[in-house]
Symmetry: C2
């Protein structure tokens, strides 16, 4: 490594590979810190000052690189959601290409939807918080955040709804949509609580990692999807 002649901020790290997290670009450090802090304290509950403190950068750097807190939040999501949904669509494409006229098997479709969330948590241990972040975001009342989610989810929802409907014939589209929501809900909710599952279960649940979640969720959802369509107004009391 050449001696440092003259201070050129941010220039020295570009030619290094495998640089420690503390020396990455300011812009990325902000994004990582923001993700961590948002997951821990929520969006309204996390101040930009706490993010810059965690990232070891200046407060003004956030506004320089991202413009505003809102745009920072959107950037945090875009980085995770885009690859996640791309992977889901890729897996579904593969399944449909290999399947015959009848389309892919139900369990395979469900697996294609759920398995990609593993990558969110397993790539990097420091990114485990992401799963909590996504869980929060989807229940967030904020209009902008919800719109971002809906737009990111639109194509995935449409494609998987079609694949599921084909795999479980004779189920009304409305019923299938409800069940798709149930699957998303079971996944998101359990992901969100994953950090606290052991406490929540009183020790029954020991390994609350995302991989276990997927493992347990796939058979549950597969069976649920195959349930007969609901009937009546639901007000009956089964005894």
């Amino acid at each position: 490594m050449p001696e440092r002649a003259g201070y050129r901020p941010g220039a020295g790290v570009q030619d290094a590979e495998g640089e420690p997290p503390q020396q990455r670009d300011t812009k990325d450090r902000i994004l990582d810190a923001a993700e961590r802090m948002f997951a821990q304290g929520g969006f309204h509950g996390t101040s930009l000052r706490s993010i810059t403190g965690e990232a070891g950068v200046n407060l003004a750097a956030i506004h320089y690189h991202y413009g505003s807190k809102d745009e920072l939040i959107q950037a945090v999501f875009a980085r995770r959601l885009a690859p996640l949904n791309r992977e889901r669509l890729r897996l579904l494409d593969d399944l449909e290409a290999r399947a015959g006229e009848a389309g892919p098997d139900l369990e395979a479709v469900i697996h294609a939807f759920l398995a990609p969330v593993r990558r969110l948590a397993d790539d990097d241990s420091s990114r485990r918080v992401v799963v909590s972040l996504l869980g929060q975001a989807i229940t967030q009342p904020d209009e902008k955040i919800r719109r971002l989610f809906i737009s990111q989810f639109a194509e995935v929802g449409r494609r998987f709804l079609a694949a599921l409907t084909r795999a479980v014939p004779h189920l009304p589209p409305e019923e299938m949509f409800w069940r798709l929501m149930f699957m998303v809900g079971a996944m998101v909710h359990t992901m969100t609580l994953s950090q606290h599952l052991e406490e929540f279960s009183g020790g029954i649940c020991r390994s609350a990692d995302v991989s276990s979640l997927v493992t347990h969720l796939v058979p549950f959802v597969t069976a649920g999807m195959r349930a007969p369509a609901s009937d009546g107004d639901g007000s009956r009391e089964p005894v």
Copy 2:
């Protein structure tokens, strides 16, 4: 009604019955407004000023009646969660009293858990927001809110886990706990999105009320609970 001789704040409304919402006690008006505003804007995102503005009371009244924002939040929850879980336990008690040695039927237990949420939304149209509020709260990263939820849910979780395990023998407790979380997740998540389900589904889902949710969710969860236990590490790719 007697003419108003002298201003005695809050005294006149006590002998009236069926008074309009604007004239109820300040304390209740605050609670109702807080619930509405929290559901709409989140906890950190909602200021006490916006609550008092909505309720038509003074800012200081919140601190007089509830002490602090934190305690107000807890009061909002306690009013809804306590009856909800009491109703669940009552239904489960009834089921177990009427069932034989083998314990109540699986679907009946699931129904006992899910049906009480109907009361949250159907009693009063202005309370529909409650379902969104509860959904938010359970994913909230705030330590205090989460602890409140865990403590409120403790007995219900224990009792229903036992009942479910008895209704579906030969399923390991850990597996059953995962599935209980899946049920809660599917319920909470769909409740949270219920206000936006029509938009989310692109028109497929027209009636997104809580009653429909329960109707559709019961058979889904019942089938999921009966699924064979998961095996392996979940990393296989079913094709």
